[in-house]
């Protein structure tokens, strides 16, 4: 079930109305699990078994982690859990990609390209499950109630495309689920309405103007490519923030708060600030479960820069099983690395850059925006060759 359909509208209205009018407070978590299961199963019933099985396995391993004191056994359980979850993600999402790479390297079809249907939202729920296991291991989650975890795993407003929740803050709201005051309900309804408007009015309209970069090849001119890039930059922002608004608003209507995902990212003054404002739930996940385990900022400077590249390449690959996404991730990793060197070594030495004048800040915002917009071409196109064609169309006279 996708958010901008009448089916979802009917489902949400009926679910929320029954939730407050009929379902006793104590039974609301169970109701949410059932609603989430119905929601997910409506799309592809078979894959509901997959998410349920993986959730069950995560819960079992998480419970074992909580009961075990032996450091070696705990480490083994964590590795087992993370490898299992990642293996499922890799199998469904990346098998075709890796098979294609092998065949390309060998210059012949050694491996058949399997026709695997990627389960809906697999990139999101696998990341939530990894987060739970790692945080249990680190002692940040000290209690894993089965019902709380089931609601967390099957919460329908975030099931399709996030925001990627954190178990601790989510579970804390479940006992009991308190009805929000009427003003807050109004806020959530506004949010949902604005979210739908963002998607159908702005994002979908921008799709048309972005056609030159999404399907290049017809006789487009410079202006078309530049307008297309700007349109895609707007499209992806309004598409994803619109979705997040609907998700957060719907969760709010159910009396539950979920993380914000965007904080006016195109106004960021540097690329590091951009990533603290764009898809916040994913970037904080990458920080906590990829960058920091690699050593974070506490390693030697060159290692930190390499870690940034690795973390962003993984972030890129998470978005899609294609080289364009990897290169897009590396583009941002390179930007973060350059910014780090710039902020630590150049800015302190140039008073003008430290001054924070309106002109400097405006230039910073414009540069960051241009950097991000340029990168979106890789996101939009279906191949590196197509992306190259777009860049050539933009830059070559």
């Amino acid at each position: 079930m996708i958010f901008n359909t009448w089916l979802f509208a009917v489902f949400a209205v009926v679910t929320i109305a029954l939730y407050w009018a009929v379902v006793p407070t104590g039974l609301r978590p169970y109701y949410l699990v059932v609603a989430g299961t119905v929601f997910y199963a409506w799309a592809v019933p078979a894959y509901t078994v997959l998410i349920a099985a993986l959730a069950l396995a995560t819960f079992a391993i998480g419970t074992a982690l909580l009961r075990t004191r032996d450091p070696g056994r705990r480490r083994a359980l964590l590795i087992l859990g993370v490898v299992l979850i990642c293996a499922v993600l890799v199998f469904f999402k990346y098998t075709r990609f890796f098979a294609a790479i092998v065949n390309e390297v060998a210059s012949q079809n050694i491996l058949p390209i399997p026709q695997i249907v990627v389960p809906l939202a697999i990139s999101f729920f696998t990341f939530e499950f990894v987060h739970v296991l790692v945080d249990i291991y680190l002692g940040k989650i000290r209690r894993l109630d089965a019902l709380d975890f089931a609601v967390f795993a099957m919460f329908f407003p975030t099931l399709v495309a996030g925001p990627i929740k954190r178990f601790q803050s989510f579970a804390a709201q479940l006992r009991p689920i308190v009805a929000p005051p009427p003003e807050e309900i109004a806020l959530h309804l506004y949010r949902i309405t604005i979210g739908v408007a963002k998607k159908t009015i702005v994002a979908d309209s921008m799709s048309l103007l972005a056609q030159p970069i999404v399907t290049p090849g017809t006789p487009y001119g410079h202006l078309d490519y530049w307008v297309g890039t700007l349109a895609y930059t707007a499209k992806i922002y309004f598409d994803f923030t619109g979705y997040s608004d609907i998700a957060i608003g719907t969760a709010g209507m159910l009396g539950l708060s979920i993380p914000e995902n965007f904080e006016r990212p195109y106004w960021a003054e540097n690329i590091a600030a951009f990533w603290s404002r764009w898809h916040i739930s994913l970037s904080t996940w990458i920080r906590d479960y990829v960058f920091i385990p690699l050593g974070g900022s506490r390693r030697p400077p060159v290692v930190v820069l390499v870690n940034l590249l690795i973390a962003m390449a993984i972030s890129g690959l998470w978005h899609g099983a294609a080289w364009t996404f990897v290169v897009w991730g590396l583009w941002h990793g390179m930007g973060l690395a350059v910014h780090r060197v710039w902020a630590q070594n150049v800015v302190p030495r140039i008073p003008l850059l430290k001054s924070g004048t309106l002109g400097i800040r405006a230039a910073s915002v414009a540069t960051t925006f241009a950097f991000v917009a340029f990168g979106w071409v890789l996101f939009a196109t279906s191949s590196l060759a197509s992306a190259g064609g777009v860049y050539a169309g933009m830059l070559v006279p």
């Binding site: 929000p180 806020l187 598409d239």
Partner: protein, 51 residues
């Protein structure tokens, strides 16, 4: 939860009058009409549902 309201710029500017069902209904109807007039039929799926 009250922090959500006081920190939201929409509510700070227009006040809690916005929470009145009539105002709420009017805004929803207005946005619905705007969606019908200016919405696009070109592309209905959400990008991030591909990930």
């Amino acid at each position: 939860m009250a922090d959500v309201l006081s920190s939201d710029p929409f509510f700070r500017v227009f006040g809690r009058r916005l929470a009145h069902p009539c105002v709420l209904g009017f805004v929803i109807a207005l946005v619905a009409v705007l969606i019908i007039v200016f919405g696009s039929s070109s592309d209905s799926h959400f990008i991030y549902t591909d990930f």
